[in-house]
């Protein structure tokens, strides 16, 4: 199955049921992030970016386990999640380059990717911000009589902020249909987890909230999806929240300006040996879904598609100046309307 750049976020999301597309999407995430680094060097990107290369299996594993009308909140390390959930490469690259083709029309930037059509709230630039919001989405899902669930994706750094405690406690006491997904990539900004957190496994904290906690190999998209399926099913059954910890690793530093020199020698190399794309490609080869040179072919195909998307972005204009004032409130949007998920 080949997905073209012109496919809608929803179509891209539905395509993710296909095993080859799952692999292709992981390659796409890697490829888009590599292209973003290049665009940064070429002067097309402002501010900062936070790459998640190495964590692609988590993004794809989550996205294939939930429906497009389940709600996802996520942090600023969200390029991969946005792409996995369905945002197009042009939507992500365009946003990061501040063009109208971007998924937030160029108003947000790298840290604020959004796509209501596939359940993605604007990703938040504040650590922990998405956890309480996911609780609210879950509360609304239940109040409106649906079986929708909310997924809060955050990092190990977020496990030490008050929002984590308040949200897990609130969700547990209310039995909310939320899945709390901690991507433990071992670093909160520039600081290794052992210097900030007195436990190795964030999942053990689930016990304090009387909810299940799972520790998952985040480099294996199938294991991610399996663990998510259990937590999502529990939430849908109305049995309450879960905490799922994905053990993973970011190959880059915290942000654009971080060379990550603080990492112990050999750590990166050890994780590169368990690259999520290679792990999944090997599995598809074993399943006879991928030919011998299939991975290289896919990579070349994806690179070409990402180049096309990049060209589309660079052809796309910056937003009109009127955009500055157009979305502040209903008064500036010229109407008294509310807009929300599940509006139909």
């Amino acid at each position: 199955m080949t997905i073209s750049n012109s496919d809608s976020p929803l179509a891209r999301r539905e395509a993710l049921h296909d095993r080859l597309e799952q692999l292709r999407r992981m390659i796409e995430i890697r490829s888009v992030e590599e292209r973003i680094q290049k665009l940064f060097a070429e002067g097309h990107v402002r501010g900062s970016t936070h790459l998640a290369n190495g964590q692609e299996a988590v993004s794809v594993g989550i996205a294939r386990s939930i429906d497009p009308d389940d709600i996802v909140t996520c942090t600023y390390r969200g390029h991969g999640h946005a792409l996995a959930l369905g945002v197009t490469p042009a939507g992500v690259i365009g946003e990061i380059c501040g063009r109208v083709v971007g998924c937030a029309g160029g108003l947000g930037g790298s840290m604020h990717l959004v796509e209501p059509a596939v359940g993605l709230m604007p990703t938040a630039a504040i650590i922990g911000a998405g956890l309480p919001i996911a609780c609210g989405a879950a509360l609304a899902a239940r109040a409106r009589g649906t079986d929708r669930v909310a997924v809060a994706i955050f990092g190990d750094g977020s496990a030490n902020i008050g929002a984590f405690h308040e949200s897990l406690n609130f969700a547990a006491i209310q039995k909310l249909p939320v899945v709390f997904v901690c991507e433990n990539n071992l670093y909160g900004e520039y600081t290794r987890i052992n210097l900030s957190t007195p436990v190795d496994d964030i999942a053990v904290r689930a016990a304090s909230y009387n909810m299940p906690g799972a520790i998952v190999d985040g480099q294996d998209a199938d294991k991610v999806a399996e663990a998510m399926a259990i937590a999502v099913a529990r939430a849908r059954r109305g049995e309450g929240p879960s905490l799922v910890e994905m053990k993973t690793y970011r190959y880059s530093g915290h942000s654009r300006s971080d060379p990550a020199t603080y990492r112990p020698a050999g750590e990166l190399d050890a994780w590169l040996k368990r690259d999520p794309i290679n792990i999944f490609a090997e599995r598809l080869t074993a399943e006879k879904l991928l030919e011998a040179d299939g991975l290289d072919q896919l990579k070349a195909e994806v690179r070409e598609a990402v180049e096309k998307a990049t060209a589309e972005v660079l052809d796309s204009p910056a937003p009109e100046l009127g955009e500055i004032m157009s979305h502040v409130g209903a008064h500036s949007a010229g109407g008294d309307r509310r807009h929300h998920f599940w509006a139909n």
Binding site: V114, I133, G162, S326, H327, A333
Partner: protein
């Protein structure tokens, strides 16, 4: 006409809003089973059920954020901050998340939620339970802020705030909850957000106030020799430039009466606008009556001095009108 407590106007507005719109829910500490520490939510649990009237843990960040998520998913949450200071631990969810949702989604997602809170000084609650803190919200594009001043404005503003498609903060002066007033409820009554009201016309000076200070302003105007026009601001952001500028163009003098420290009070922006846009009509420099830049004191004697009272306001306005020079605030030479 029936006399009611002002807190009953809060309760009635919430009750009617929940009855009229099934998407309205409430969250807060002790609001359901206990009926609220100020009894402003008494009976709502019985009337609307535990799915819509939700007691939360003492976790302001959790329920403030849950309101954001619920609003984006089609509900209209009303959250109660028991004392407005409690929102300090949850501010991110309102000022950084709710206020930017419409912007970041380019209008595809909105956050119609209301934060209501008891606020203000005068009852000996000390410096951490007595502030107005409207300036925490006024500076954030995407939020609206209003302040209630009596039974009618409480009902009218709350109903409008709950119907607004954007996040609104409603500050309710706690000192007014137990005041009794004649008021006949009208289920259709609304006060449009962003509109001020001339509550007493006059021709010598315009006196702006909001919240509990409106009563002080009216009392001062009643005992003044000068003919003072009193305006209840009602909404502090976006504030009603038209009504204020029109009034000042007639009276030629502007006085703001603010329950806020001088450095952050809402009058600063109003005075700056009037100075620029009504410069030609001014007979005297605009004058701000504010709190000193100090925390709210506990001792009754100190708190009584700290808050402007009618005698002090009368004296300040009289000095301005008779000399056309701004009088000195009492606290400038008090240290």
């Amino acid at each position: 006409m029936a006399k009611i407590w002002i807190r009953q106007a809060v309760l009635r507005a919430l009750d009617d809003a929940m009855a009229d719109d099934p998407s309205v829910i409430m969250m807060g500490e002790d609001i359901a089973a206990a009926g609220g520490p100020f009894k402003v939510t008494e009976g709502l649990l019985a009337a609307h059920g535990p799915k819509r009237v939700i007691d939360t843990p003492i976790s302001e960040m959790a329920f403030m954020g849950a309101a954001v998520g619920a609003a984006v998913c089609g509900l209209k949450p009303v959250v109660e901050m028991m004392f407005i200071e409690f929102i300090g631990v949850a501010l991110d969810q309102l000022t950084t998340q709710a206020a930017t949702m419409r912007y970041l989604s380019r209008g595809r997602l909105t956050t119609p939620l209301v934060v209501r809170a008891s606020a203000g000084a005068g009852q000996g609650f000390g410096c951490q339970h007595s502030q107005m803190l409207d300036h925490w919200f006024r500076g954030t594009p995407g939020l609206k802020v209003c302040v209630t001043s009596n039974a009618r404005t409480t009902y009218g503003l709350l109903r409008s705030a709950i119907e607004d498609p954007d996040p609104v903060v409603v500050l309710e002066p706690r000192i007014l909850y137990a005041e009794r007033e004649e008021y006949e409820f009208d289920r259709t009554y609304r006060i449009p957000l962003g509109k001020a009201e001339i509550v007493k016309p006059g021709k010598d000076a315009t006196l702006l106030a909001c919240g509990a200070m409106v009563r002080v302003a009216l009392e001062a105007a009643a005992s003044s020799k000068a003919d003072i026009e009193v305006i209840d601001m009602l909404t502090l952001w976006p504030w009603d430039r038209e009504t204020v500028l029109e009034s000042v163009s007639r009276t030629g003098r502007l006085v703001t009466l603010e329950e806020a420290p001088a450095g952050t009070g809402w009058g600063a922006e109003v005075v700056s606008t009037v100075a620029v846009e009504a410069f030609g009509s001014l007979k005297a420099p605009p004058h701000r009556i504010t709190l000193p830049d100090a925390p709210v004191p506990y001792s009754g004697k100190l708190e009584a001095r700290y808050l402007p009272n009618a005698a002090y306001v009368t004296e300040q306005v009289a000095a301005l009108v008779s000399t056309n020079k701004a009088p000195t605030p009492w606290w400038r030479n008090a240290a």
